[in-house]
Structure formats: C-alpha cells, structure tokens
Amino acid sequence: MNAVIVAQGLTKEYPSGEGCDRVLREVGLTVRRGETCLLLGPSGSGKTTLLSILGCLLSPTAGTLAIAGDTVPFGDRAALAELRRTRIGFVFQNSRLLPFASAYDNVALAAANAGVPSAELDARIHGLLTAVKMDRHRDKRPAELSGGMRQRIALARALVHQPVLVLADEPTAALDRHTGRTVVDLLLEHSRSQAAGLIVVTHDEHLSDGFDRVIRLNEGALTEDER
C-alpha cells in the first residue's frame, strides 16, 4: 500500500443549541508516500479540524481514516498516542519548543519518545540539525533563537523519528515571507527525502510553489484538489 492517508467520509459535528454545527462534511482524501499537499481555506473552513483528525488528535463524528494501511481506532487513546508517537510528525504554528530545553534536547525528546534506539539517536539528530542548518545552535535554548531558527528545530523534531506523515499547521504564520519560504522548502525537501506524506495548512496562497497538490477547503467540504 503506497498511501499514507486514506480518509473516507470524514465528518465532524459539534452540538450547538438544539442542533449541531457541522464543521467537516464527508471529506475524502488520499495522500501517497512522499506526496506533498498544501491545504488552503479561509478561517472557519475546517482546516484545523481536518488536521486534528488526520493527526489522530480528534475523533470524527463519522467516516474512517487509515494511516499507512492501518485503520485508526479512534476509541483507543493508547493506540492513538502510539500512532502519533511513531508515524506522525507535527510542525506547529509557534514551533512549540520546550523553552527550558536546548535545541538538541527538543529534537531528542521526540526521538526518544518514538523509541529511536539510543545508539542511533545522536547521529540521526546531528544529521537532521545539519540538514536544517542548525547544528551550530544545538546547545541554544529557544529563547536564544530567531523565529525561523525555531521552526527549523521544530522541523527536525517532526522528522527525527522518520514518520510516514508530516502535518504542519501554519508553519510560516509567525515568519517573514523569505524565512517562511525557506522553512517550507526545507519541509518539502526533507519530507520527500524521507518519503513521508506532507500536509501543510496555511492561509498563504503564495506558498503553493513546490507542492504536488493544492487542496481547498470551504465550509467543511473539499472544494478543489489541484495536482
């Protein structure tokens, strides 16, 4: 099976008064290994909800999701944590690095948590930090780094355990355009080199260069899927 994501009929509803708000409407999506997707949509279109479901952080009201061929058991919290730990890499809007840990340790925590053997740990982190041009800053804490540097560390953290799927939520929102582009290029390069599926959620239409697909979401439904 070459698909890292097979989502069918993903629907999410929240109770509202006597009715309910449907924030995601029967979304179907397949992403192959190494495929890079940009998910665009206005505020409130359901991007974050879809990303949360694909990231096994939120259960859909209806529909199914398979990651790397395995159906996601949304009722099993331990299994969801295991999937997130071993198969998914996350890049968040504000990097969300631990302020009290060095750049190296921020990457190491994800690797150790995913069960990367300690013999491989150092070489793998060194390789990734070098690839994102941050090895020189490995001992610095996040407060000593710029926003772009922090996102590069976050990128290394997302990739260090060699996930099959990388999910990035507005990774350039807090960066200037040039730095944002650099971070996105690194995301594209390294996701492809690891053959991981990549989904980047953004408002920024200008980032679409280099992505294999651009997916648009509007009012909870997929409205466009350009290849």
């Binding site: 944590a81 631990l98 009290f100 840990a101 925590l109 994800a110 948590n113 929102a173």
Partner: protein
C-alpha cells in the same frame, strides 16, 4: 531527552519559584518534625525519673495520675511489698510539690524528691558532686539546667526549702521537668522533715525490683492482692500513665499534634500551589507533549516526580534545620528529641502528602486538550 529530564527541567526553569517552594516545604517539614520532637522530648521529660529508676514495679496510692502527682501512702507498704515472693528489693520514695526560696527572696515552686538509702530514682548523671550527697544533713541536689531559676551558682550555697536550710551538695545533669517546677533531690528522711504535710511513717512510692527470672506480672498481681488500697504498676505502665496524663489530660500533647498537623497542611498547600502553578505555566507544553504521542500516564508521572523532588528537597532542608535545632535544644529545658520510628513515619507521611498535593495538578492535566496545539 527522557520524560524525567523534561520534568526536572520544567521544575528548574523558574529558579526563584523553585527555591521559594523548597524553602516553604522545608520549613513546614521542620515544623512538623520539631513539633513531634517536642512531643517526644516532653514525653521523655515527664517520664525520665520513672524510666531511669530501673525498677520493675511501683506501688502508689490509687488513681495516681502521674509520677508528679503521687500522694501519701503508709511506709509499711515497703515491707508489705518486700514480703511478696519474687521480690528482691524494695525502697521508699518521696515526691511532693514544695517551695524553694532563692537568695534574693524570690519563691520558686519545686518538686522535692526524697531518695531512700540506695539513691535509686535520683539523678542518673551528675555535673558536679555525687548522688549520695543527699544523705548529708539538709543537703539537696539540683539540676544544672535550673541553676538560674533556683538562683544557684555552685555547690555549697545555702537556700531555704519550706523555710528550712537546704545546702546544695551536687548538680545533676539532664533532669528536666515538664511542669516548670525543677526537681530538687534530698534523702527520704530529710524530705519528710522539709514537707510537714507528710508524717514520718508516710512515703509517696514504693519502688520494687524482682529477683532475676521472676515473673514480674505474677509478682505484680500478688502484690496488688496483698496491699489493699494501693495500686501496683510496672515501670512501663507507670511511664504510659504519666505520659498520657501530661500529653492528653493537660492538653499539651493535643496542642503539639494540632500544630504539627497544621505544619503538614501548610507544607501541602505550598507544594500544591507550586505544582499547580508549574503545571498551569506549562499547559501548552503538556498539550504539545500529548500531541506528539506522550501518554497521559507519562505526564502524570512527570508531575508526581516533580512533587517528590520538591518534597524530598524540602525534607532535606528541613532536616538540615532540625539537626542544629535539636543540638541547641539539648542544652535547654525543652529538648527536641525523636525516635527512628517517629522520624521515618513523619518522612513517609510527608512524602505521601507531597504526592497528594499533586492531585490538583493531575486533575488540571486531565483537562488538557492536545488539539489546542493547533490554536496558535
């Protein structure tokens, strides 16, 4: 980077708060140990003469509430007790409240203890002189801890005891009193001469040693049967009764225990608030850790680990405060003492309290939604 390292780094990130918390927990732990130390010290103090007498049985008037409150019994009880099979030795002892007059005319209430021929029941350690000095005419021994209270500078000085001359013939060491009335030792005969309320044929206690191998319980029962109107207690029973009286009936012990519990409560609140503040400050990090696959159980263990680190650090500080306090108090009438059992029990209770203090943090952690990582 393991969860334990993340937890400790989280704890140490705000150094001033960490130090303030450890100091708070340390002082609370010190308070708890010190209160129980006072309790143990007081129990040792109020039972010291009974324990150090090293006898098997005590004969006394019925319903004597504590060693300090003995009342007169006939001297013939000494001989009645000696006639019981299994008894090796008996002597009399006198204990009663009296008035000491200092050189400057001030009166001080004292507990006058009259010792029989062997001096058993008297001081177990002397700072100056010998115990047998009590058998010299109108001679007394006072404790060096209470020299100032009694106006005593040294041996050979004369004072008045119930209006009669009392010459200081020796200074004991470590004979404390819980009642704030220092013990003054003299001979049994001299004590009765001082205390005109007692007749020549009256004493306060008969102290009894059994023959080697004798069944003390059987001797006690036999003696109780043969001496009507008196009560016969083993040393352990008399120690227990005296301690219960002072600690429970006077309320001293209850007060100390309440203060110790308050200390424990203060420590719990400090630790609980610190942990909660740390958890609250790190909610975003916890949600990130949950999102990247850390289990809820691991995060709970991180908080419990932080509670233990804070608790143990505070306890070490508390012990560092306790040791000099105990050493200093050993030179005063109010000693801080403990036993290994009490010390370890309080350490265990304190650690359990630390873990219990983390409950609010753990509950707060349970409300963390990992989806919040996608909300900027």
């Amino acid at each position: 980077m393991k969860a334990s390292r993340i937890a400790s780094a989280m704890l140490g990130y705000n150094r001033p708060r960490l130090v303030a918390s450890i100091v708070g927990v340390g002082v609370a732990f010190f308070l708890v140990q010190a209160q129980f130390g006072l309790l143990v010290g007081w129990i040792h103090t109020c039972t010291a003469l009974v324990r150090h007498a090293d006898v098997d049985l005590w004969v006394m008037a019925r319903q004597t509430p504590a060693f300090d409150y003995g009342t007169a019994i006939p001297r013939q009880r000494i001989y009645q007790a000696r006639s019981v099979p299994g008894v090796a030795w008996t002597e009399g002892m006198f204990v009663a409240w009296n008035v000491w007059q200092r050189g400057d005319g001030r009166h001080v209430n004292v507990q006058l203890v009259g010792l029989d021929r062997s001096g058993v029941g008297g001081p177990w350690e002397m700072a100056a002189g010998v115990v047998n000095a009590v058998h010299r005419p109108q001679t007394v021994i006072v404790d060096h801890l209470y020299r100032k209270a009694l106006g005593v500078v040294g041996i050979g000085e004369d004072f008045e005891l119930v209006g009669q001359r009392a010459r200081v013939g020796g200074l004991s060491r470590g004979v404390r009193t819980l009642s704030a009335c220092p013990f003054v030792f003299t001979s049994l005969a001299q004590a009765i001469r001082y205390d005109r309320r007692y007749r020549d044929d009256q004493i306060t206690y008969v102290i009894v040693r059994c023959k080697p191998g004798a069944d003390v319980g059987a001797v006690q029962r036999e003696m109780s049967g043969r001496i009507p109107g008196a009560e016969v207690l083993t040393t352990a029973e008399f120690v227990g009764r005296s301690a219960r009286y002072w600690m429970l009936e006077t309320g001293i012990g209850i007060t100390v225990i309440v203060t110790a519990v308050l200390g424990l409560a203060v420590g719990t609140v400090i630790l609980s608030q610190t942990l909660f503040a740390i958890t609250q400050d790190n909610l975003a990090h916890y949600s990130m850790l949950l999102a990247v696959g850390f289990s809820g159980r691991t995060l709970v263990m991180m908080i419990l680990g932080q509670a233990l680190v804070l608790g143990v650090s505070g306890m070490l500080l508390g012990i560092a405060l306790l040791l000099p306090a105990a050493w200093l108090s050993a030179q005063t009438p109010i000693p801080l003492e403990t036993t290994p059992g009490i010390f370890m029990t309080l350490c265990g209770v304190s650690l359990l309290t630390c873990l219990a203090a983390s409950i609010f943090s753990v509950r707060r952690l349970g409300m963390v939604d990992p989806v919040s990582v996608f909300h900027g």
